[in-house]
């Protein structure tokens, strides 16, 4: 039986992937973040998951205004690397898991979620920044990846409560998969940040700390908030923390937080967490 052993939270800013490509992890600017990835990589090397279920969003890369799915799942056997406008990153295509993706899609549809099913979903920084910061890809990526993308850019977007429920549906889907797989769920995106308007650059570290406290211990209280609450407290782009709620919903009600880091960078509050599942991870 497949089981979720834990959940990771990571930023997904393009700058993080660019720092990886420049081997800039130890510079004064980036060290506070990449020091935060070290324990995450060590945890992954210890757990050796077979599959990542990666909650992220598209940035008008694979989707355009023509079609904007509220939820989308990538079912391809191999996910291409996208050219977002500054050239493709030098990364090999990312392996998917079509069998588990089919099972996930079918299971969550039966629970009332209706994702767009994507046979071709080139990955942009939303997936590649965390993947490349968390694992090495030579000679090949060590894990298969099923991206589940949530619209966070074009309103209306799914509610925090709906995203938390999606996570729970994904948890039940994994538990009903017959193969013996270890799965890790990833919630990605910045905490507080705003990337437009005269309020560009807004960061609220106090709110970010409260968010991480509540995400660990009382995530339902965050799932009850409105988009506007997140936008006011953390800036417009912080609304993407609904991706972290997807991750948290997929974990046991009580989690063991074995790592937490925060870096107040130039434009974004970067959070990093490792939560161990206290139910399915029991060995």
């Amino acid at each position: 039986m497949a089981r979720i052993v834990g959940g990771l939270g990571s930023p997904h800013a393009p700058a993080v992937g660019a720092a990886v490509d420049r081997h800039d992890e130890d510079s004064a600017y980036w060290k506070p973040l990449f020091d935060g990835y070290r324990p995450m990589r060590a945890w992954l090397e210890r757990e050796r998951p077979d599959v990542f279920i990666l909650f992220s969003n598209d940035h008008f890369t694979s989707f355009f205004l023509d079609v904007i799915p509220s939820f989308a799942i990538g079912v391809a056997a191999l996910h291409e690397i996208a050219d977002e406008g500054w050239g493709k990153r030098p990364l090999p295509a990312v392996p998917g898991d079509t069998d588990l993706a089919w099972h996930l899609a079918r299971s969550i549809v039966e629970e009332g979620f209706d994702p767009a099913v994507c046979h071709r979903l080139p990955l942009d920084h939303g997936c590649l920044s965390p993947l490349s910061a968390l694992s090495s890809w030579t000679p090949q990526w060590p894990v298969r990846v099923i991206p589940i993308l949530v619209n966070v850019l074009h309103f209306p977007i799914p509610t925090p409560a709906r995203c938390f429920e999606l996570g729970r549906a994904v948890r039940r889907a994994v538990a009903s998969y017959p193969d013996d797989l270890k799965v890790v769920v990833l919630g990605t995106g910045g905490l507080s940040h705003q990337l437009t308007g005269e309020r560009f650059g807004y960061i609220n570290p106090d709110w970010d700390a409260e968010f991480l406290d509540r995400l660990e211990r009382e995530p339902e209280s965050l799932a009850r908030l409105k988009h506007q609450d997140f936008i006011e407290r953390g800036g417009t782009e912080s609304v993407e923390v609904i991706l972290w709620l997807c991750m948290r919903g997929a974990l046991s009600p009580r989690v063991r937080c074995v790592h937490r880091n925060y870096y107040h960078a130039t434009l974004t509050g970067y959070g990093q967490v490792v939560y161990e599942d206290t139910e399915s991870a029991a060995r």
Binding site: H59, G85, L153, H154, G197, R199, G201
Partner: protein
Amino acid sequence: MKEAERAFANPAPGTYLLTVSLAQQGYRLSSFCRSLMSAENRAAFKADEERYLRDFGLDAAEIAMVRARDWLAMVRYGVNHFLVFRVAGTLGVGLTGAAAQMRGETLEEFKRTRRVWEER
């Protein structure tokens, strides 16, 4: 656009959300931004901006926003910022440059508001 959507899209001063009517207004300009995802198109745009914009069928007001590098105007017009950043990036303007422009500051002024700054 009805008042309710306008209020939703601009919930506070300096804060803009992309909604359906705005995105419809910004559709053509957004299509131009998206076209810069291909290296050939980026090269063609840089080689002759005016011609590329005209050939794309943008109207005078839309062309003026690009010519002026007015990222804030593009956002307010109904173009998602990640699309705007493709144009800025193609023209050598990074996120901090776009941030300063949208805030109405010079890059130096913006830098002074930051806790950390990456010199590159």
